[in-house]
Symmetry: C2
Subunit: 185 residues, 2 copies
């Protein structure tokens, strides 16, 4: 491979990820064949797999990117912002995202790969919850991990309902989520 | 079709639903071809489609049965019992169940069909929440519908996590859900 500038490499990666996301959204994970990936991305398989070794890594790159965006939204603007972000996500893509539960269930290597998507951000999110507890912003009568898991469940629930294509007005529900985690009088 | 006893008809239906559930769990909704349905059920397509007009109706029958069981558990033993039921469900089947979000998103006829699965039970569930509000068991500063939607989100989140095959200990989280919906001091 000839030497390329960092900008060129990044632009190619962006092009590949954007096309792969369209291919997955339109055809599902299984249905996104190499031919369809080539078509949506506009590059040959040789070029694509120069950047990402296989379809699974392409998918992991997209889901890692999404998880990072959601965690960053939560860290910077609170969990409501993160939940709104999910509710506004493309339902087709969310469908693919949820599809991968099957891979998690059946593929041990994928499960390992999945766990280590955003270790630094996940660490930051846990520290954030612990800090919020210390500041009296969220209840401290439960481990931060339990509160994190509750918020994760709600996030997955929003993803399911959004992926069904029913218009989801999550605002009335966010107040209940907030009440669940604020300190009890 | 010769006249059959009600027991015989019910036994056949049970056999068909049990086999269809296995076929969907093993192969997914799309992958459960008519040949695979025949194999798992142990009846010819003619016999199967005598009871259910097509694959979609077989799937709707299964999901209707599941929803009814979960709603009944909630009505009789509270929402925690219903959530535990989901967490103990077969992850493979839950995966198929979640797959159908795609059908909901893309198939208008299926969306209509889906809405009217268990109208009586859904009505009972709504009345139950309203009664719990009147009795001071759950908060009444929000519409019963909002509380129902919150519980539905949590249920879907539990379904996603269980379908991923990660062991889900929902007990620590159930307390948070309970706190969210109990009357505020």
């Amino acid at each position: 491979m000839p030497k390329r500038s960092a900008e060129h490499l990044q632009a190619r990666r962006d092009q590949i990820l954007a096309g792969a996301r369209r291919a997955f959204s339109r055809h599902g994970y299984e249905g996104a064949t190499v031919a369809r990936l080539e078509e949506e991305i506009g590059l040959s398989r040789g070029a694509i797999f120069n950047y990402y070794p296989n379809k699974l890594e392409l998918f992991v790159a997209l889901s890692t990117e999404d998880e990072a965006r959601i965690l960053r939204a939560a860290l910077e603007h609170g969990f409501e912002a993160a939940f709104r972000y999910i509710a506004e996500e493309n339902p087709d893509w969310l469908g693919v995202y949820l599809e991968n539960a099957r891979l998690l269930r059946t593929d041990a290597a994928f499960r390992e790969r999945w766990k280590s998507r955003n270790p630094e951000l996940e660490q930051l999110a846990e520290e954030y919850l612990t800090r919020q507890q210390a500041d009296g912003e969220i209840r401290d009568d439960l481990p931060a991990e339990t509160i994190g898991r509750f918020l994760g469940l709600v996030a997955d629930g929003i993803a399911v309902q959004t992926s069904s294509g029913f218009a989801v007005d999550i605002e009335p529900v966010l107040g209940l989520v907030r009440d669940a985690i604020t300190p009890r009088q």
